[in-house]
Symmetry: C2
């Protein structure tokens, strides 16, 4: 019974790690599609989004079965709760990648991101990708010290978001309202993606220590 | 033991219902503050936001204790899982109310919402408030039929959001970029608030039936 539980728990945890890799790839490809106005890549990201939702439901179902059938305690219980919480955050990160891809599609064949915003969007996307890589690794191999330092990345993201809005709101903005709104919403998508990554790092701290960081 | 479990479960469920009432009031007051450029009301909403976070952590902790100490099964397990999920959605709804209040503060003493957008924002806020009222009542007294019909409200919200963007993106928009972005983001806040309410209605369906609606 106990070995069976550990095997199933390991499977659920691996499903969460796979899901983290999937949403990392989704945001990376959505960004490429956005910056290159690559329609087929954007469509591929949108087409794969239901797989992320399905993975979320699968993890939720198996985690609930583990709770119901095995009544885990202590660190095993925290591992199941962490899988539930992390997969919910990852599901939202997948949605945000889809929003980026949809923005690329809506403006295609025009580029949604004008030249003035490209360097900032590229940096936001690079921070988002690095954060997604770190949480994938934290979910595979929990590390409290690394998880606790994780929200520094989020400060970088917030700075970039402010810079982005600064460019859009400057008097010299020549691109009109629609491009301004797309730029502001894109900024928000990357920022929210980073916020969910921070949540996941907090779940990892809880997993190991039993404490939720403030 | 069993009676003790039921009493604690009832307490946790009541905490979730209270939290739903709190975030309903937060969004309602944030909207009033926004539309009347009422600084002190906006500040009050922002000041109370940490209480919502704290309530979330409290529910999470007590739900995890219930899982660890009592190992509930079947509908009792689903009730605990529902409390965990619903409180996470409510926490985000509280954040969104704070974003609306912060928008009011950032533009104060100017109104953040120009005359052309007021009727649509008022309707979005009314739909959001009605959805928050329904989920509060669904969490207090689960009702599958009512929960399953709930996402119709979300269609109304999506229509209003499209209308809002239509006004902002029309050639006659006279208010400049900052007001356009604020309008677009406000639309997104109400829409996301409604999305979280739909999630909660889905949790209620799961609570009663054990099935997650697609």
């Amino acid at each position: 019974m106990r070995e069976e539980f550990q095997a199933e728990l390991a499977t659920v945890r691996q499903l969460v790690v796979d899901m983290a890799e999937t949403v990392r790839r989704a945001m990376s490809e959505a960004t490429q599609a956005l910056l290159r106005a690559d329609r087929s890549l954007a469509e591929a990201v949108v087409a794969r989004e239901p797989e992320v939702d399905q993975r979320y439901r699968q993890i939720e179902e198996r985690a609930c079965d583990l709770l119901a059938l095995q009544a885990p305690v202590a660190s095993d219980l925290r591992a199941v709760i962490t899988a539930l919480h992390a997969s919910a955050d990852l599901e939202r990160m997948g949605d945000l990648a889809e929003h980026v891809a949809t923005t690329a599609l809506r403006r295609h064949p025009s580029p949604a991101v004008p030249a003035e915003l490209r360097p900032i969007v590229e940096r936001m996307a690079a921070v988002a990708d690095s954060m997604a890589a770190t949480i994938t690794s934290l979910l595979a191999r929990p590390d409290v010290a690394r998880a606790e330092q994780f929200d520094r990345n989020d400060d970088t993201m917030d700075d970039l978001h402010r810079q982005l809005l600064g460019v859009i709101l400057s008097d010299e903005w020549p691109y009109g309202t629609e491009t301004a709104i797309d730029g502001a919403l894109l900024g928000r998508y990357y920022e929210r993606y980073a916020d969910h990554a921070v949540n996941i790092a907090e779940h990892v701290v809880y997993l190991v220590t039993g404490e939720t960081p403030n």
